[in-house]
């Protein structure tokens, strides 16, 4: 029982990332009808916003400490961060320590701008082109973006830790009546799960309870009719692209303490997220979220030794296996709408 609870918890944080990326993908597909293969790159750019802010906060000046020696026996060069000298060592190091959560403030405007620029600058020229063209151009864009990141940040993963207050883990088992140290869950993964729930809730609330959201939903259902009512739906859809980019970016920022960012992390998540979208049902926002969590948890279960003993290698293929089964039994996915991607 404890192993099952542990794997459910473990799958939830992975599922949170899948759900957030898939949510953005579905928003773009549902509004603009574009299959955006550059969405993983947006997740990656978000993660690198955290890296950039962390580096920015750690910008430092060098002083020579004659009392200490370096590995060559020369006087030690001591680096002091500007932030520490401006705000004092305690507050300065606390600011550096909280770089990842603080990066959220940087990521939202950056990602809104990146999303807006991407849609206006490139993707809008492909609205009337076949899906294959859209896939090719967005895939190409993803490669360009990851090469740009590689150029500036190098090829290696960059450790970006969580604030020290969130290092360590919660003894979840004790809360459920198990013995101590049986079900342990790292604090930051719990934070990530709760964060994703907040973002998902905010997106749904925005679409459900605001006039803007109502118009967007109406546009997703029948774009032409909304246009005939004199509403500039294109402008709203462009903004939705920006919001989808921001959701992907925020998913990336908060994921950095779990997985050190590298330039190809977006591609790693993209393929899985597309499977999530297809399993959830193309164009269905609740479907994307449900499938994200479902596949995350299933992937975790498949890594259990008891399961792998029965079917070796299942942990590597489980997501695709589930996708095949669901598409065979429910061709529109779990919550797919009739008419989407169907001629």
């Amino acid at each position: 029982m404890d192993a099952i609870i542990l794997q459910i918890l473990n799958g939830l944080d992975k599922g949170s990332a899948y759900a957030l990326i898939a949510l953005g993908l579905t928003l773009i597909f549902g509004t603009l009808g574009v299959v955006n293969f550059a969405h993983g790159a947006l997740f990656m750019i978000g993660a690198f916003c955290a890296v950039s802010l962390s580096r920015l906060l750690q910008l430092s000046y060098t002083t020579i400490d004659e009392t200490q020696k370096d590995f060559l026996g020369k006087p030690l060069k001591v680096e002091t961060a500007y932030v520490e000298s401006w705000f004092g060592p305690e507050l300065g190091s606390a600011i550096i320590d909280w770089a990842v959560p603080l990066a959220i403030l940087l990521t939202i405007p950056v990602m809104l701008f990146v999303g807006y620029a991407m849609e206006r600058g490139l993707i809008k020229h492909f609205y009337k082109r076949p899906h294959a063209d859209q896939i090719l151009v967005t895939f190409g864009l993803a490669i360009v973006l990851q090469e740009v990141i590689k150029y500036f940040f190098g090829a290696n993963p960059i450790p970006t830790p969580a604030p020290s207050a969130y290092v360590g883990s919660l003894d979840f088992g004790v809360m459920l009546g198990f013995d101590p140290n049986v079900i342990i869950y790292p604090y930051w993964r719990l934070v990530y799960f709760l964060f994703s729930l907040i973002i998902i809730g905010a997106v749904f609330a925005f679409l459900q309870f605001t006039t803007f959201g109502m118009v967007v939903r109406a546009g997703m259902a029948d774009r032409e009719t909304v246009g005939l009512l004199g509403i500039d739906i294109d402008k709203r859809f462009t903004l939705m692209f920006g919001i989808a980019a921001a959701v992907a970016g925020l998913a990336g920022v908060m994921y950095t303490p779990i997985l050190s960012p590298n330039y190809h992390m977006g591609m790693d998540f993209l393929v899985l997220s597309f499977v999530v979208v297809v399993v959830g049902g193309m164009g269905s926002l609740p479907g994307a979220v449900l499938a994200g969590f479902l596949l995350g948890v299933l992937q975790s279960f498949a890594s259990m030794n008891e399961i792998k003993a029965i079917i070796p290698g299942i942990d590597q293929i489980i997501i695709y296996l589930v996708a095949i089964v669901i598409l065979l039994t429910r061709p529109r996915g779990l919550m797919g709408r009739k008419g989407v991607m169907e001629d």
Partner: protein
């Protein structure tokens, strides 16, 4: 009187064949005029540095590359000469190799065997290198070693720790200076016995390729010989990134020790995540839960930060050693790059110098001459005591370091401390040991 029978067609045919022969890649026709692949003809000789510059082992590869540049500088008479001054063989004089200036080409293996082979092939065929060196993955090293054997060039393996490289996949044209998984197990076991006792239950997480398999086999054998029980061995994909779903089952497996047969970025991620899951704070079977990383490197230690404090592992070499060779190398490398060299960098540097020395002693770049010069070559002054390049399997035998994550690091490089220098005699084994069985060096191939 002989009759000369030239026909127009005959002359054209002969000319065409000769022309085609001359336009063949150098490595295919080199043997015809010089007896071996890519025989250097001008005033320079080219070496190929084939390392991962991207992928999970990229950091090790980039450090190796810096060491190769330094070795070339020293061979060509630049810098302070580094370990050329402490090396027991004194034939290298800073005028290149056999009077030819050393040049190089580099390649990115991406830590993938097929990419590494393609890169090495291009170096041999297009760039005309006489020696290929590199590696940060045994899968890559085994693949490139086999290619070099077929092509008739020398392969000086850098970072490869699998028993197979000089075991079942050994080749006459390939040489390994780095230690291997068996040696790690043999050196670690007595220390683990002293520190953690003889009643432990171990859980292995293992990188799913040749290095991981042989390390798991070696560590399992040596710990079980102590009386430890192996609870489970689990294979994980290389570059998995998030290992949490593999670590979670460890919590309730009844194991009190986690052995991470991971390297590079994978080890940084798996160790960090193991600590995040509170493994090191657990008490199991009345004992403190412990993590062991059998193969350590300074770069991994730096990446894992405070998570490695108190974690035991083994190393081929470390910059904190106090012998003259180490000090000379640390000074050269440190002054050029502003940081101490890693163990990977040390191996890369030493292998380049050993190759140059062997060529000079043999008086030829012919791989068969180099093989002869390196086999059973005994040397000192390269950083870790008296060393033997055993002729029967091309494995170097020397002391092995047992390391521990420093409890109170005083600076960013002070991440590991040397616990013990295990003497060479303790890690030696016969060349037909079961873990190394099934391989044949075969004959030397000069590319004929």
């Amino acid at each position: 009187m002989s009759k000369m029978n030239f026909s127009r067609r005959g002359v054209l045919k002969t000319g065409a064949i000769a022309g085609a022969g001359l336009t063949l890649p150098t490595y295919l026709r080199a043997d015809a005029h010089a007896g071996f692949t890519n025989a250097p003809t001008g005033s320079t000789v080219k070496l190929g540095f084939n390392v991962p510059q991207t992928g999970p082992y990229a950091q090790e590869g980039l450090d190796e590359l810096d060491a190769y540049y330094l070795a070339v500088e020293h061979l060509n008479g630049g810098g302070d000469g580094g370990m050329l001054n402490t090396f027991s063989s004194k034939v290298l004089d800073g005028t290149g190799i056999l009077g030819k200036k050393v040049e190089y080409v580099t390649g990115d293996t991406q830590t993938k065997s097929d990419v590494a082979r393609a890169s090495a092939q291009s170096m041999i065929q297009k760039d005309g290198v006489v020696m290929v060196t590199g590696g940060s993955s045994s899968g890559v090293a085994v693949a490139v070693q086999s290619l070099c054997q077929e092509a008739g060039v020398i392969f000086m393996a850098a970072l490869t720790h699998s028993n197979d490289t000089t075991g079942k996949d050994r080749k006459r044209n390939g040489f390994r200076y780095f230690f291997n998984a068996y040696m790690s197990g043999a050196a670690l076991a007595p220390v683990l016995s002293n520190v953690y006792g003889n009643e432990r239950r171990a859980y292995h997480l293992t990188a799913d390729y040749t290095w991981g398999w042989t390390q798991e086999e070696s560590i399992k054998a040596s710990t079980e010989a102590l009386g430890w029980e192996t609870v489970q061995t689990v294979r994980t994909p290389v570059g998995a990134g998030d290992f949490s779903s593999y670590i979670a089952p460890v919590l309730n497996s009844g194991a009190d020790t986690l052995i991470l047969n991971h390297y590079g970025g994978d080890m940084v991620n798996s160790l960090t995540q193991a600590v995040q899951f509170g493994l090191r704070d657990k008490m199991v079977n009345g004992k403190q839960f412990e993590v062991i990383v059998p193969l350590y490197s300074e770069l991994m230690a730096a990446g894992a930060g405070a998570n490695i404090q108190g974690v035991y592992g083994s190393m081929n070499w470390n910059w904190q050693l106090q012998d003259a060779g180490t000090q000379a190398f640390v000074k050269s490398f440190g002054e050029k790059y502003g940081r101490p060299p890693s163990g990977s960098a040390h191996t890369a540097y030493v292998q380049t110098i050993l190759y140059a020395d062997a060529v000079t002693r043999a008086g030829t770049f012919n791989p068969c001459g180099v093989v002869e010069a390196l086999e059973d070559f005994e040397f000192d002054g390269m950083g870790i005591g008296q060393t033997l390049y055993r002729g029967s399997d091309h494995q170097c035998f020397k002391d092995v370091l047992i390391m521990k994550g420093a409890d109170n690091p005083t600076n960013q490089y002070d991440t590991l401390e040397i616990v013990e220098v295990t003497p060479r005699a303790q890690v030696e084994y016969p060349d037909d040991h079961p873990m190394f069985a099934g391989g044949e060096l075969g004959a030397c191939n000069p590319g004929a």
